[in-house]
């Protein structure tokens, strides 16, 4: 069954190199002045969208729960980061801009995470439409609360005026740093999905009763996923605040949240590749459509409708791009010609546009570590594996080697 010409370690290395090459490309484009502030701004926005979408994908795609409150968490992160940044300056604490940026976004993420737990514990007792409505309401609550906080308006802290946009936030976000934060986020989320926690979460998605009967603590896992998702939404908010320089409570509204849900569904629920590509694509698309001026949002909507009609599972369904697999295909073409072509198509997209390639290749970094697994079957096998080995104990899953076997087994099936 051993097909890969690369060992796991080698494939990690290949991916690390891939990401590094990409970073150098971005750097080259920025440093030589090839990228205008406009392009850099779009790259930054795309990075923020990627963090938001991949983290939301964890809840929607991997856990299988529809939430509409992600922008509530983003707003909490954004306001926390912005106010903390102002506080640090006001207190005269000496630190470099970079450490201030990193500290504030982590604080933003942590605050969002706390709220994620607070909201998650009661909300995740429900699912489906009910959960969607609860999270939608949560976003609105956040919006109204921020609107009524005096220190979150005007120029912030005690001098604020409630209901006003928070302005004058130091714009510390640097594209290179944000790039690496995005890479780390995607890597973490990918590895989480492949870990035993991730497999347990997929088991819950596929059959909650079976998963719970096999000894999984479903409430704990659901809240965990919700909190992780909220953390990264908060981080994205912190970056957003320090990129855009002003905040408005309206950012927590449900329309913005739905925008990110669209990105997840568009790319394919459960596919990190899909989330990245659609986050970048749907960030760039409205900008490209500026040529249509008045009909811009119409064309955008038509594009969404067409994809949903012809590709209801999203662009990538549950498929993941993997750089090491791609290399494999280059050497053993006979193995899976159709897969190879799909990979080439993705690569093609990546290389035509600097922005797109930025993130496209971020996936291989994370995708590299594992052999290919078709997601749906993976989930089934994961739950089967858990059901088999997790007997009675509160343990979350089987030993770490099990999935590899599961993956290989499934891979075998897949190829026939």
């Amino acid at each position: 069954m051993k097909k890969s010409i690369l060992s796991t370690k080698q494939s990690y290395l290949v991916c690390a190199l891939g990401v590094l090459a990409l970073f150098l490309l971005v750097m080259a484009v920025c440093e030589t002045g090839l990228a205008s502030p406009y392009i850099k701004g779009i790259m930054m926005t795309a990075c923020i969208a990627v963090i938001m979408t991949t983290s939301l994908n964890l809840t929607i795609g991997v856990l299988g729960q529809l939430t509409l409150g992600c922008c509530g968490f983003q707003a909490i992160g954004a306001y926390t980061a912005a106010l903390l940044s102002k506080l640090i300056v006001a207190q005269g604490i000496a630190m470099s801009d970079m450490s201030r940026f990193l500290i504030t976004i982590v604080a933003g993420g942590a605050m969002a995470c706390i709220f994620g737990v607070i909201v998650g514990v009661p909300a995740l007792r429900l699912h489906g439409d009910y959960l969607a409505i609860i999270t939608l309401g949560f976003g609105e609550i956040i919006r109204v609360i921020i609107q009524n906080l005096k220190f979150a308006g005007g120029i912030g802290l005690s001098k604020g005026q409630q209901g006003q946009a928070l302005i004058g936030i130091d714009r510390l976000a640097n594209l290179y740093v944000v790039f690496w934060i995005t890479v780390l986020t995607v890597a973490f989320l990918f590895m989480f999905g492949r870990s035993r926690y991730g497999r347990a979460v997929k088991a819950i998605r596929d059959d909650e009763i079976a998963a719970s009967a096999s000894g999984l603590n479903t409430t704990y896992l659901k809240v965990l996923v919700f909190a992780i998702s909220a953390f990264f939404a908060g981080v994205a908010g912190g970056i957003f605040a320090q990129y855009i320089g002003s905040l408005n409570p309206a950012m927590a509204g449900w329309l913005n949240s739905i925008n990110y849900v669209i990105m997840v569904v568009f790319g394919g629920m459960g596919s990190i590749t899909g989330s990245i590509v659609s986050a970048i694509g749907l960030t760039i698309l409205p900008e490209l459509l500026r040529a249509f001026s008045d009909y811009r949002m119409l064309v955008y909507s038509v594009a969404l409708v067409l994809v949903m009609i012809f590709r209801p599972q999203g662009i990538f369904g549950s498929w993941e791009f993997s750089l090491s697999k791609f290399i494999n295909h280059l050497f053993y073409r006979g193995n899976g010609p159709k897969r190879g072509r799909a990979a080439v198509a993705v690569e093609g997209t990546a290389s035509t546009d600097g922005v797109a390639s930025t993130e496209d290749n971020a996936t291989p970094d994370t995708a590299a570590g594992a052999d290919d697994v078709s997601r749906l079957q993976d989930g089934v096998i994961a739950s089967a594996g858990i059901a088999g080995t997790g007997e009675g104990s509160a343990g979350v899953g089987p030993d770490p080697n099990a999935p590899r076997d599961g993956g290989a087994m499934q891979e075998g099936d897949d190829r026939r």
């Binding site: 855009i244 900008e287 490209l288 001026s293 811009r296 949002m297």
Partner: protein, 395 residues
């Protein structure tokens, strides 16, 4: 097997399509840029505009674009600016701060753009302000009225800021109505309401008016004001400044004030536009409010011409947003002409800062924060209809 193949085929097509469209479009915008670079030396001046043409505030943005287009076609018919034709590069921001920043970055990357008109709403304007400073390109917002957006050196506006109306109301009370005892009622939870009330009281004290009572409600959405109004009535005030929105002032504050026996003047800010009335329209006599623009403004000769040309171009009547955006274009024109033959962006800013301007929405001087000190129109309710009363000149 077959369905799998189809699915993959569609994916490949989608990916290829995306790739082609990305390549095509990025190429297109590049050539567009190089084209406009040469235009900077040529015979065109580009004015960029960022407006909200889709989303909830789309009506405002559309009205603004109509105003821009009218002004620019007039300027071009009259020979352009410094003999150069003017081109409008119009961008939509969906009312989203991220989109407005992207649009501004795009405009600032085009060297032929000398000024940006917009954005439409205060939230997007707040996002553009730091970018304007960074790229040293002026942005003139036609109708973003929030006080908080006054930051940086490159953001200007054609409309007065919210709290400025408080000052004007105090001047109107002292100079035109010649009252002595005034009272204030405002909502503490709303920056628009509390901000205008604050500036009213400050100016009233300076003008020697006696502020006999100040009452407040916890929010600007309350519906019951009788107890506050009774105190105001008992204080002997002849004039009440009540900065609320049309949906509260109309059905609640004014009828309740009349029912406690208050027969003095009630005045409000532009939130009174479209005041919701109860059946008894006589209650609304002696109600005044300040606004940006009135089609009945007889004191300003430019208004009639503006309405006439707007009607012939758009087959509809202009609203406040169109009037303000029409003025915005002429502000930019005046600044560019003053800056010289081939001005830089920095020279345009210098020419605009502190400049005087006469337009459809009044004559004004830009203060050091970029907001105008301008003449404000006062409308009076007569039998349930707003009627032009007078223009209050700035101090």
């Amino acid at each position: 097997m077959n369905t799998r193949f189809t699915a993959k085929f569609v994916t490949i097509c989608a990916a290829t399509g995306l790739a082609v469209s990305l390549a095509g479009c990025s190429g297109g915008s590049l050539s567009e840029n190089s084209g406009s670079d040469s235009a900077a030396q040529g015979n065109t001046i580009t004015l960029g505009s960022i407006t909200t043409n889709s989303g909830t505030a789309a009506a405002y943005g559309e009205a603004e674009v109509a105003g821009f287009k009218l002004a620019i076609s007039e300027i071009n018919k009259a020979g352009g600016i410094n003999g150069k034709k003017v081109k409008l590069e119009s961008m939509d921001d969906k009312g989203d701060p991220t989109e407005s920043s992207n649009a501004f970055n795009k405009l600032s990357g085009d060297d032929s753009v000398l000024a940006v008109l917009g954005p439409t709403i205060s939230a997007t304007t707040a996002a553009v302000a730091p970018l304007a400073d960074q790229s040293k390109l002026v942005a003139i917002a036609p109708a973003a009225t929030a006080d908080s957006i006054e930051s940086g050196n490159y953001l200007f506006r054609a409309c007065f800021k919210d709290s400025y109306q408080g000052e004007i109301a105090a001047r109107f009370a002292a100079k035109t109505l010649k009252v002595k005892k005034v009272a204030v009622l405002y909502g503490t939870g709303d920056p628009y309401s509390s901000g205008t009330a604050e500036s009213f009281m400050k100016e009233a004290k300076q003008l020697g008016l006696d502020v006999v009572d100040q009452e407040s409600s916890s929010s600007a959405d309350d519906t019951e004001y009788s107890s506050q109004l009774q105190k105001i009535q008992a204080s002997g005030a002849e004039f009440l400044y009540a900065p609320y929105y049309y949906s509260i002032a109309g059905p609640y504050i004014i009828p309740q004030a009349r029912s406690v026996g208050f027969n003095g003047v009630v005045m409000g800010p532009d939130g009174y536009d479209g005041l919701k009335l109860t059946d008894n329209v006589s209650l609304y006599n002696k109600v005044y409010y300040t606004t940006h623009y009135s089609p009945d403004d007889k004191e300003n000769s430019k208004v009639a011409d503006f309405i006439k040309s707007f009607r012939s171009e758009n087959k509809s009547d202009p609203n406040t947003f169109s009037a303000l955006s029409y003025d915005t274009v002429y502000m930019a024109k005046q600044a560019i002409e003053k800056a010289g033959k081939n001005p830089t962006r920095e020279q345009v800013r210098k020419a605009l800062a502190g400049s005087k301007f006469d337009g459809v929405t009044g004559s004004f001087t830009l203060d050091k924060t970029g907001s105008p000190k301008k003449s404000v129109i006062v409308l009076e309710m007569k039998d349930g209809k707003p009627v032009f009363n007078s223009t209050v000149k700035p101090a």
